[in-house]
Amino acid sequence: MALATEPFILNIGPAHPSTHGVFRMRTTLDGEVIVDVEPVFGYLHRGIEKLCERRTYKKNIPLTDRLDYVSAINNNWPYVLAVEQLAGIQVPPRAEYLRVIMSELQRIASHLLAIGSVMNDMGIFFTAFMYMFREREKIIDLLEMVTGQRLLYNYMRFGGVSQDIPTEFLPALAKFLKVMPGYLDEYDQMLAENEILLSRMKGIGILKPQTAIGASTSGPVLRGSGIKWDLRKAAPYSVYDKLEFDVPTGANGDCYDRYRVRMEEMRQSLRIIQQAVEQMPAGKFQGRVPLRIRPPAGEAYAQIESPRGMLGCYLVSDGSELPYRCHFRAPAFLNLTVLRELLIGQKLADAIVIFGSIDISMGEVDR
């Protein structure tokens, strides 16, 4: 006897505990199985690209912070790199190392939030989240020491950074670098071999390498599928070619691999920070920058490896004080291309975990 069933439409979001921001997924469910998903974007669209065209170059730096508000320092970087390329501004070595240190600290903080959120979505009821946020607080305290801000730092400037580090920063950083690996081990102890976590994440949301490449994914999503592509190694910017670190990849492309890639990347970031601190020379923290920035007409494209993937800024200048066009290549936006494919055929509970493992930040997706 065949039961008469009919699929029904369930709106997940925009205001939902697990959508990491205002994102709406219009899912068509047949029982617990998803048969179709229509992602609805735009709830956080603020028109940042249009706003950039009306402000001078320097005023746009705080605006870029608001792109991916979870890892704000990384967003300044492609923009200032693009302007430096256009205007021919040199960056002194100390500033490069400072940029690297702050960005890697921010990478750790961002991954902590990403992993904590996924664990929370799976039902650990904030315990893993709280533990990881304890570490994120330490990082935010360090960044506050330098920039005065806790979330949206506005730290980088054309030709360097906005201010040098205070004297208490390096000892505090050394203390942090000493205890952090122990905390990462603690997370691994709690989570990595947890039976329920494995059964919820292994084999779920498998992203095949060919699909990942064709869909322009990047960051841990791409590396989780086994493709060893990291801009810091493939097209090194700043001083990354002088720093030694590994690029972790996953084997299967499931949620568990993406989670492991992020955990490993945190360890590698600690290595990078350690080396950067040792190699950092004394000197100026900002290069020579004209008072009014008027890059010559032309265009530039600069990319960095942000915690979510390849973040890029395409800048077109017409020689005036305002940018002509400023486009941001947002990794979270492009990573969402695969969302529909990954979700169809999965159960509702898995959909939340898969979505969390792609790790988006709505500020970047909608811009």
Binding site: G123, I124, T127, R134, I196, S199, R200, P248, D257
Partner: protein, 364 residues
């Protein structure tokens, strides 16, 4: 009336109706007090697990927090969705709550002191505990909300699946004690059944967690997926009753674990009621411990665990218990306990290997 009278200790003052009244009030008082303390314990203990403080503003150590919560809930507007099925919507919290109170009627709080010590107490408990599922399903169904409906469906599926292992684990204790009356089972626990029946304890613990919708089986009210599951559309007093149901079930779960496996009110030195309370609170603490550390299972994984994992183990447990009682009734506990613990560990490891997800190696 004759049966009920015969369960009174011979020196009990007054007659049947006094007994009924006093004990009803006592049990309701016990339940309510336990619920209030459990609410406080939950927030405070889980907070300590999460390296934060928990409520500490309302009263010393936040002890008045549950009262503040109750005041807040009662002052909220009682909204009924316009397209909800009003009668069922209204009845559901009551249908969910009453069975919980009814279970408490057969539990002996201390030697001989139970509201109604039925000589088929175990069967009564299992029967009545299923009715809560109807209440929860009614609340999810009547809400006219897809999230609630999904929650309600999951609830019914899970509850039915876990009834059977729970019943079989209880049946093993009945075989050990030779009596279906709850007081008889407590009386037979000169050695607590947790030692004598380790496998039964594990099964019963897992099944109880699933019955009371606690992590790792709280997919019924999964915050991150279904907003609030079956109680999404409830507010005000009706929500307060459903909230009460959730905690009362936690109390009942702890009480059942205490009575059937931890020896109930038995214990040296301290008065029995103190022992009972301590054991109930210790069980709840363990339940909270699991809640703050474990992620939740998916519905199909939870059902797989019930049917493929717990049910065969429960049958094996019943078989082994039966064999032991028939062939070696007078086996010394020094041999029986280690042997059974060894068998339990073996079976649990074997079953988890059978049910385990395949694990390919990590890349990099």
């Amino acid at each position: 009336m004759g049966i009920l009278m015969s369960t009174l200790p011979p020196d009990w003052p007054g007659n049947f109706w006094w007994h009924l009244l006093v004990l009803t009030l006592l049990l309701i008082g016990f339940l309510m007090t336990s619920v209030i303390i459990f609410i406080w314990m939950e927030r405070r203990v889980i907070a300590r697990f999460q390296i934060r403080l928990g409520p500490n503003r309302v009263g010393p150590f936040g002890l008045l927090q549950p009262f503040a919560d109750v005041v807040k809930i009662l002052t909220k507007e009682d909204i009924i969705p316009s397209r909800a099925d009003k009668i069922i919507f209204w009845l559901a919290p009551a249908v969910a709550f009453v069975p919980v109170l009814m279970i408490l009627a057969v539990i002996p709080l201390m030697g001989g002191l139970a509201l109604a010590d039925l000589n088929i107490g175990v069967i009564y408990i299992v029967a009545v505990s299923s009715v809560t599922a109807i209440g929860i399903f009614m609340s999810g169904f009547a809400s006219n909300n897809k999230y609630s409906l999904i929650g309600a469906m999951r609830e019914v599926a899970q509850l039915i699946s876990y009834e059977i292992p729970m019943l079989l684990a209880l049946a093993s204790t009945v075989i050990m004690a030779g009596s279906l009356a709850v007081s008889g089972i407590v009386a037979a626990q000169s050695i607590p059944f947790i030692l004598v029946q380790p496998l039964g304890f594990v099964i019963f613990l897992v099944a109880t967690l699933a019955e009371i919708n606690r992590t790792p089986f709280d997919l019924v009210e999964a915050d991150s997926e279904l907003t609030a599951g079956f109680n999404t559309e409830y507010s005000g007093m009706k929500w307060a009753v459903l909230y009460l149901v959730e905690y009362s079930e936690a109390v009942i779960g702890s009480v059942l674990i205490t009575t059937f496996f931890l020896g109930g009110w038995r214990g040296p030195f301290l008065p029995p009621i103190i022992w009972f309370t301590v054991k109930v609170f210790a069980s709840f603490f363990f339940i909270l411990w699991i809640r703050s550390t474990m992620p939740r299972l998916r519905i199909d994984q939870s059902m797989a665990l019930a049917w493929k994992g717990l049910l065969p183990l429960a049958l094996l447990n019943l078989f082994i218990t039966g064999v032991k009682v028939v062939f070696w009734p007078a086996l010394s506990p020094w041999i029986a306990i280690p042997a059974y613990v060894f068998v339990t560990v073996l079976l649990v490891l074997l079953w988890s290997r059978l049910l385990r997800t395949r694990r390919p190696a990590l890349g990099s």
